[in-house]
Subunit: 346 residues, 4 copies
């Protein structure tokens, strides 16, 4: 283990730095011992490996040949948050995300993805060709480069970093693969899990045991082919704890939106879960009757799909703050974290 308490801010925030070695990765939410204990309010500088576990480095590396399916979506963590107990809510603020490698990778893994049959939507058809795309990072322009594999087309795309996975240990003693999004967060693959966002996750076990991974240099909504521009990532986060405020499904807050994420199958159930979670949140935020929340949200929510390729499909429900009276979720936790984040950088 190679972590170090690197410095202390004026507000006495502890900052931990952690870069796991290969044998320190976790591949599940739950079922793994914590690699580190931190206090609520700590900042962390974390390094995460890419979803393929660094097995794909050129277009010649095919997922079917290189990728060990028991070692995908390696997680950095889990981390034990002192004082966290079932019934609390963990707040993880993402201060900054930066590519930690000079290229990103995407691949059409056989029988995995949105426009192919899968192990669930099972058919007798042949798989799509196993193909790899390498996206070179141009740090000066802050872009990644798409290069056609079956033609001459190329285009530069802006880097928009996000974390595919962020989650805590599940309830009921379950242990879930890091490929799964669920109540506990996990592999939601939402572009909203990016710098400036605070992710709220209900705590199921003592210490919460959260982990992060699956960095994406950019991703479209849906993560259509099954993989984003996957890459190793440096993350700066602040972790805090809200005692006694349960959160049934993951919620996200940034300066512009309140959000809730539902993850299930079929996808209409993901939407239902997210929309209902937002109705519940509006009951808290504005003391609205559920029927009034239902009505008001019907006219204002955005509902982007996050992923339609993982073990559960994820949908994000978003309510714009600028349409609503000002209020303070979780006693202003997000604003507080934004404030505390100001002195921090990668």
């Amino acid at each position: 283990m190679s972590w170090s308490r690197i410095r202390t801010l004026e507000l006495t925030m502890e900052i931990f730095e952690f870069k796991p070695t290969f044998d320190q990765f976790a591949y599940t939410f739950g079922g793994v011992k914590p690699v580190l204990r931190i206090k609520p309010g700590s900042a962390m500088k974390l390094w995460t490996e890419d979803a393929f576990n660094n097995t794909i480095k050129s277009v010649k590396d095919l997922s079917s040949e290189k990728v060990d399916l028991h070692h995908v979506n390696p997680q950095t963590g889990p981390f034990y948050v002192e004082g966290a107990e079932p019934g609390d809510t963990l707040a993880i603020h993402i201060v900054d995300l930066k590519p930690a490698r000079g290229y990103g990778v995407s691949s059409t893994i056989p029988f995995f993805g949105g426009l192919t049959s899968t192990d669930r939507t099972a058919t007798l058809q042949d798989p799509l060709p196993d193909t790899t795309w390498i996206y070179e990072v141009d740090s000066s322009k802050n872009t990644v480069g798409f290069e056609s594999r079956f033609g001459e087309f190329s285009v530069e795309l802006p880097i928009e970093c996000m974390l595919g996975t962020i989650g805590v240990a599940p309830s009921g003693g379950e242990v879930r693969s890091s490929l799964v999004p669920e109540r506990f967060g996990g592999n939601m693959d939402s572009p909203e899990v990016c710098a400036g966002s605070t992710i709220y996750l209900g705590v199921n076990v003592e210490g919460a045991l959260f982990s992060v991974g699956d960095g994406h240099y950019r991703q479209g909504e849906g993560e259509a082919c099954g993989t984003a521009v996957e890459g190793a990532m440096n993350s700066m986060i602040i972790v805090d704890l809200i005692k006694g405020a349960g959160t049934a499904w993951p919620r996200i807050e940034n300066d512009d939106y309140y959000m809730a994420v539902g993850s299930s199958r079929p996808m209409e159930d993901s939407w239902r879960i997210g929309q209902l979670e937002m109705v519940r949140w509006f009951e808290d935020l504005y003391a609205l009757h559920p029927m009034d929340s239902y009505q008001l949200l019907s006219q204002i929510t955005k509902a982007p799909i996050a992923n339609v390729v993982d073990a559960n499909f994820s949908v994000v429900i978003m309510a714009a703050k600028n349409l609503l009276p000002e209020t303070h979720a979780y006693s202003g936790m997000h604003s507080s974290l934004r404030e505390r984040a100001k002195g921090l950088k990668l």
Copy 2:
């Protein structure tokens, strides 16, 4: 019938004005004789009744008592477009939309909506309370007012007009209720069907026989409770025809995005349809191999849900033009329509 050819622009665009009487409404796509024949390139000023057929005028009017379910989503049209044949694509550009009434209406119709059991997702539970909300239009501020029915909360929301239904006659001799979104367009309930958008619909029958209706003064993505801020609408549109260019599923183009709309159940199938339609479009636009389209779109598409309450659920796939090399869909039809729209107003 009360239409009139009101004026002729310099570019000799014919402008038809049509406000149907009650007995002129259509309630299906297909199966209805055209109310008017127009030439491609015509502009139309159309008036549409609200989805409830003007039966709900105050919070005391309940949908279960007032609404005749055989007379909802009244359509203005259908219109016969001269020269339109199966295999062509109809292009309908929405120049402008404006509320035609001083209030909008929303209602939680029993066993209809996203957070209730329905005739399909059938359960033994009681329905949610049948409740009506009236949204007063403030033209000076361009807002509608949400007023809580179970408390004191109120908030002004910006008007963002859209058409819930826009569609042509189906193929195969089918006739579908105006509550249905499908290949032929119809009740997609997408906020992207708004001023500035060009909607492309594959023609299935001679004359195309398109109609519009179900105006919304605003709507969240998903149309969660089943109804938007429903209101009578004035629309200015231009209708044009693209010969010999079939379009399998509805496409939309505005200045910023290429879009495709899939409508089916479960919702992951709606997504699949839309995403595949966009792959096909990218093959046309950029001569990309399908695998390259699949990959590129995976990293750039937005995927908002349009509705999760209608006979089919609709998902919009959006590709931002500013991320892509410039190109001209359908030989620049959208740009041409934008140009032609300049002299028109409601």
Copy 3:
């Protein structure tokens, strides 16, 4: 038109015989004028063409080359039942079904079927090979012969005739393809639509306008590959009318079971519809409270899948009569029809 009133039983039952010519087929439920008017209580001897419209006659005939998708599932009918009005229930008793051709046909139509991607569950994969199987009828053994197309395997299977489609005109002025199962019956593809069964269908339009077609010499539950052993069929049916007894979704009764058929997507919704319809029926049959019906049915229903390949998926809910106190659905309609059927044969 070539029908003839062939004979009169003692109980003065009229028997109509009808074999449509090619241009008399219907391809939709609704939207077609009746080919014949009959009185309730009439018997009918009907001939139906196979689902492929007799375009496939040998293993060399491929569906992608021969089948006109606008002329599949040709319907014999529609028939106007005198006195039938919306709110009534049509009762169609199947007296007997017999193959009308010496072979049956099955085919894996590209992008149609259960273990392939489709126009809805859309993927980028290649279709499965378009393949035709011919099943020779052995009348003496009452079998059809499966012959492997990719090997040497063959096996004789018992003929178990059924009708894939049986339906009335839809409500709301809709017209639906004969490929669609829905509230109005239609392409349910249930093996329970066989000799000895009485099918109850709610009437939506004057005259009911029912039709039949899509005969199967046998079919597994699910109709996995999309087509059964398709064949022209001779059917003997009796048609009766139950005034003022609405039926929301198709119900079936035979000597052993009460059944209800739900058709929707996703398939759990088909199940929900069928199970709820059966709860409603048990309220009628046994004056049971819905919660008691729900409970009792939970312990006794069979729930076979009918089809998982059509425009909607169909699930049959079956309650065994031998587990239940004797009762008489629709005033004993099924028993009466069984009695009346005794003198009839093909």
Copy 4:
């Protein structure tokens, strides 16, 4: 722990008897240490507690008050099978099942079941009334008695014992609640898991670590209300091991049928999984090409729903042996187990 090696048959079969104490129950598949190690070929007499963990004993006991949701579906096991390794297949033959209590229990748990909204199919509606039904066992008639809770209706139903859960530890280090059916078996709630059946489960971890529970005195297909006639059960099983013969999804064999069970959401995916698994099995059994298997199975499979209420929905695909040439799955394992079962009784 209270097991005992009770006797040895002529064929030197070891018979273990195991009745867990309350603190010996497992509530997950995986993640629990084995309670016993057995050799392949062993017989076991097992006692299982009911799904409610014996908390509901009269109609006054309501699930919402009595049931601890972390202690439902208590499992007897897990058992370590010596020599079992990933890539092997475990064969569990159910010799006999008998009620171990004088009554069974069923309950409509709030927001759980098929005709109610749930935590996934989330709505704003009130739950159905939490109601308990007690089914008295009549051993002489071999019946359980349904007693209406909202009226006077009662009926005796034949006991048809089955095990709701039978499963091994999952792959990939996952630990799943005993409420989950999946690749590893688990809470499939299939009436086919009954006396006379052999259940084949792919081994994922050393020792396989199988467990059983959730005995039902009878259950309809679908387990509509979420609970069967739940009761403590005595089971006699024989456990054997097939080396080097992987089984992707659970298979079942009895004297009459080959079966495969798919469990996923939406339910069409469960069907797809089961149907494809059966295609694969037919490739083994009859050396059939997948397209021929697909075709043949399309005409012969039965496809009953097992459950539409659990974390995944389960569908059973059944192929009747009497329609097929004789063959011997897994080298005749089922016949061998039937033979060995002859001397055993509860």
